[in-house]
Symmetry: C2
Subunit: 627 residues, 2 copies
């Protein structure tokens, strides 16, 4: 265990880069067919092995002639040559052009012996009986003839090693008749997610046993393929030594690189650590970078190894920052130009870690078209922050503070990542969901209307959607809105016979509420306040008597789903939701949903499109909704 | 035939865009597995169908407790709780946390009933006998617990229609357990190259019959796939009506879009034209754009149809300009940001066509990092110009003149096209080929040393390679060079016993020469001049007597290959080439090969790298070469 203590001294990020660069990630070559060569990288130089064309070739439809026979001919004074035969593309000429004769020829055909030029058909007239041709122009030798090898000559250097094969290079290889294209092999990367609780998407999930779907395997496999590797998923390994050893060594035998992820629990890290030490060599354990602390780098006898953190955003950041480039280099694939963008910080951000930080950021364009970056998810481990984060900013350990407006360089999570066309935050609402479907590449975070207003105020989003009472003064432009009927979602047929809000306080009923960030919760709070006033008691006294008033669940449908699943007696919600889920509903009123836009972003095409959709969208199929 | 005349009136390009936009290119949806979903586009909204996590989940290793049991605890005054059991990730808890007790828990495990917080293991000490735990901190309810649905809540909008699936979206879909991902179908595009002379790469080529390898099928298929379509190659169709009808209708029945290419000969166009008219509808025939004149747009009963020109660069330009966007729209794939670059014209260029022109251009960076565009291949039809052309500039019919330095927008042939790192022109030389292999993404056009100097002088290339006599004064920096032994390449064992240059003039020998663009030809011309002077005759008189002095073939190895293949008696060439091809050699001297750099580009990394490689590269395995 003394070794371990040494490793626990976190190494500088540069050392981790060097350790990974020192790994052997394969890098051989293989032959693929032209139809599979797109995007691949030539492993060696390809020289032309033949002339293209392989023969003197007519480049026009017309007549093959001896140029000297046409000297002096023009429109006024044509020459007449005997028509000796014809040759079409794909045929071997069976006729020779003698002095005073010509041969009909089509584009692409082999020049017949004796001929050294082609006259375009437009400058000729064939005599009625087809025995002779009148030629109304003079030709020089070589006119409308492409000589053998004029395009590519045998022995010429055609394409160099390292060339990425796009359609045009595929075209040149086709011309050379090369069908077995020598390309760099793709590094073969094995992915091992660790955790007894993981289940593959598509399989049944047992939440009661704490199962969750595996996120990292698919995220990292996709990122490996984007970087030019070939990914293979291995079975999940739990933190049992024998199982971990079996899965890791199997992957190591079959792959150039093994990536594990997860094992955030101390016990699992210990197991991986021991397997690497026993079956290979651990090069480093823990990097002085946030969130790279649990990162491992090692080697098996025939494979490299990197251990990634377990949280999806952290895993993707560490992959992007340390591993993707190494795979790309082994594959010979250049970093796409779109993989990095320059941005300005949308908000200030403070640090005090004293170590390098990888900061996940979301991107949004402001009204002037400048790309802004704002920090996302400070380590919550939520998979949803994956979809908010567009890339990663490396923040130097000496940086204590990034000011709003400061320029940062963002390494995107994928060269295909596009900043959203429009970015909204706030209330979760079924009509809004349909509106968002009509927008081009929107991003919407349903963090609740109240929380949404706070974020709009801080400046990053383009718009916020709120409902119910709005207490704060905001510099925002109202874009319109709609009303929705709210109340208590109850089991179907309302078995408890709930009739009004007071029932929750006066009877033994289990209620499920929404968090205070939600606008709908504000609407409920107001209704409770009113009821308390009517009864001459305080709101606190009243809510104290509602079993579950503090039991809050996150999203719009969550209380209703609790009612459906758990047998709670009532949940805060909408009539539309109750009807969608086949539940009962006790109406308590209507509330207004409002869309508020950031006034600096009114000219953005995405915001203009939002306004347009809001103005024209019709409310259909949503009971209790109105314009 | 009256119809046809109407169609022969070329339609404006805008009308062709509209005709293609009106075509139905499919656009359905299908379900793919997560592992195949990379880069695909969601066909419909995906709402969360479950809570993530599906249970209240410990987010630390430690002990699950009732928070109120820890009130007031700190380092100085810990509380001690009975240890009632343990729960690990992936297990269903079999123990309840009662007042005064705790349960050991690992990250990711289900919170046991009764517990509402987790204390980190670092803030605890387990008593020796394992029956109790000392806790040295106070907790609030919810500490280190992720509530069910806190990440994603059932019913929430997760991803919208039209979302491109990058690793992070794949991650969110994984979290939701979605394995059958509803994505937009790829338009199925059938590719039909026309021409009896075409042969598939990999098959035997019969040049004597005028066969050439098919270039467009592979180029266009690759470009279709880059645009988000799925390409299928159909057999080549000749210009026989029945064959063309059979192939086109088979493709039309199986595909959403059929693309033909070729049929540049008038007869083949007529055949295609008739097939489309008989089996479908021809929407337009000929577009007022250069080189789009032979373009066809039509519809079969169940498929769209576009006919592309036959020359590879023209076919790719018309595809890029008119068709790629339509495929991308049908596939729901956005145009990559890298698909277009802004550049400055490297040279002036004049027009006088009066119709829109698609100008193929090559790109190169100047010394300041500005991207320059220069026109490539004014319609030669060469496949090699494919590799010189990076993209296409649309030039307005009213533009008679583009000045050097004028800004143009270049639609790249592929989003993966990168401008070359360094661009050279000039002599074809085997040592140079090896030097180029050491450079990053070089472009080199072996157009001959003399032609190379002219192009260097005009300004686009970074460097030129010349050999033999240099007549012109150039503003260029010499970068070093090497010498090569030249002479006459003869059949092996020199059956004619050729000994010197004079033999070519004095004996009945068939000679093969290089073009006057080549530096080596200049060296030969000088030697002939000297010989003529010694004999007191004119150079012209002497060369007149050399059979084949005007028979020139393009590249460095071409005369030697003629000697090997055709039984010519002698060819101009290098000792290294003769030995490589197993031929005989009559030495006539040595000539110097010189690399000359554009003085404005000396600071370019690619040029610096070239200088470095030239300084360190060793000449090995090249007989007759010297430093």
């Amino acid at each position: 265990m003394t070794d371990r203590k040494e490793f626990r001294e976190l190494v500088p990020p540069q050392q981790a880069h060097e350790a990974i660069a020192s790994l052997d990630l394969g890098g051989g070559s293989e032959a693929v067919s032209l139809r599979e060569a797109r995007g691949r990288v030539l492993a060696e130089r390809v020289d032309a092995d033949l002339d293209v064309p392989g023969f003197d070739r007519a480049s026009m439809d017309g007549y093959a002639v001896r140029a000297r026979d046409t000297f002096g001919a023009d429109e006024a004074d044509p020459v007449v040559l005997d028509l000796a035969g014809s040759v079409h593309a794909g045929e071997e000429p069976d006729v020779t052009v003698e002095a005073g004769s010509c041969v009909e020829i089509s584009t692409g055909a082999v020049m017949p012996p004796g001929a050294d030029a082609v006259v375009m058909v437009e400058r000729t007239d064939e005599r009625e009986n087809g025995s002779a041709v009148e030629i109304r122009t003079s030709l020089a030798p070589g006119d409308h003839v492409m000589l053998a090898g004029a395009d590519v000559a045998g022995g010429e250097r055609a394409l160099g090693p390292g060339t990425r094969l796009t359609p045009r290079e595929i075209g040149l290889l086709s011309a050379l008749g090369v069908d077995a294209v020598p390309v760099r092999s793709k590094p073969h990367v094995g992915i091992v997610s660790t955790g007894d609780e993981l289940v593959r998407p598509g399989e049944a999930l047992h939440s009661e046993r704490g199962q969750i779907y595996d996120v990292n395997s698919y995220t990292i496999a996709t990122a490996v393929e984007e970087a030019g590797g070939e990914a293979e998923l291995y079975p999940h390994a739990g933190d049992d030594y024998e199982e971990m050893e079996r899965v890791l060594t199997e992957a190591a035998e079959e792959c150039d690189l093994v990536l594990s992820s997860g094992s955030t629990s101390a016990s699992a890290v210990d197991v991986i650590y021991r397997v690497i030490e026993d079956r290979g060599e651990l090069l480093l354990h823990g990097v002085a970078i946030k969130p790279g602390k649990p990162m491992l780098v090692g080697e098996f006898p025939d494979s490299a190894y990197v251990g990634l953190p377990g949280y999806p955003v952290s895993a993707l950041m560490i992959f992007r920052h340390f591993v993707a480039g190494a795979i790309r280099r082994a594959a010979g694939v250049p970093e796409p130009r779109t993989a990095t963008v320059e941005a300005e910080m949308a908000l200030e951000e403070r640090y005090g870690e004293g170590r390098t930080r990888l900061m996940p950021v979301g991107l949004i364009e402001n009204g002037e078209g400048t790309t802004l970056a704002y920090p996302v998810d400070k380590g919550s481990g939520a998979t949803t922050s994956l979809v908010e984060a567009d890339g990663v900013v490396e923040v130097d350990p000496d940086t204590a503070y990034l000011d709003a407006g400061e320029r940062v360089s963002v390494d995107l999570f994928s060269p295909d990542v596009r900043p959203p066309g429009v970015f909204g935050v706030g209330e979760d609402d079924p009509f809004l969901s349909g509106v968002l479907d009509e927008l081009d590449h929107p991003r919407y975070l349903s963090i609740g209307g109240r929380q949404g207003l706070r974020r709009l105020d801080r400046g990053a989003p383009d718009f916020a959607v709120t409902s119910g009472p709005v207490e704060r003064e905001l510099d925002a432009t109202e874009f319109g809105g709609w009303s929705r009927e709210w109340g208590l979602v109850v089991p179907s047929d309302n078995p408890e016979g709930i009739e009004e809000l007071a029932d929750l306080a006066d009877r033994e009923l289990r209620f499920v509420n929404r968090p205070t960030d939600s606008g709908l919760r504000g609407t409920l709070d107001d209704a409770v306040e009113t009821l308390a006033g009517e009864r001459g008691e305080s709101r606190a006294d009243l809510t104290e008597r509602i079993d579950g008033y503090e039991l809050t669940v996150r999203a719009q449908e969550s209380p209703a789903r609790k009612v459906a699943a758990d047998g709670a007696d009532a949940g805060l919600g909408l009539r539309a939701t109750a009807e969608k889920l086949g539940l009962g509903f006790v109406s308590l009123g209507e509330e207004r949903v409002t869309v508020l836009a950031n006034p600096d972003r009114m000219e953005k095409p995405g915001v203009e499109r939002l306004r347009e959709v809001l103005e024209t969208a019709e409310i259909e199929g949503l009971p209790g909704f109105g314009g």
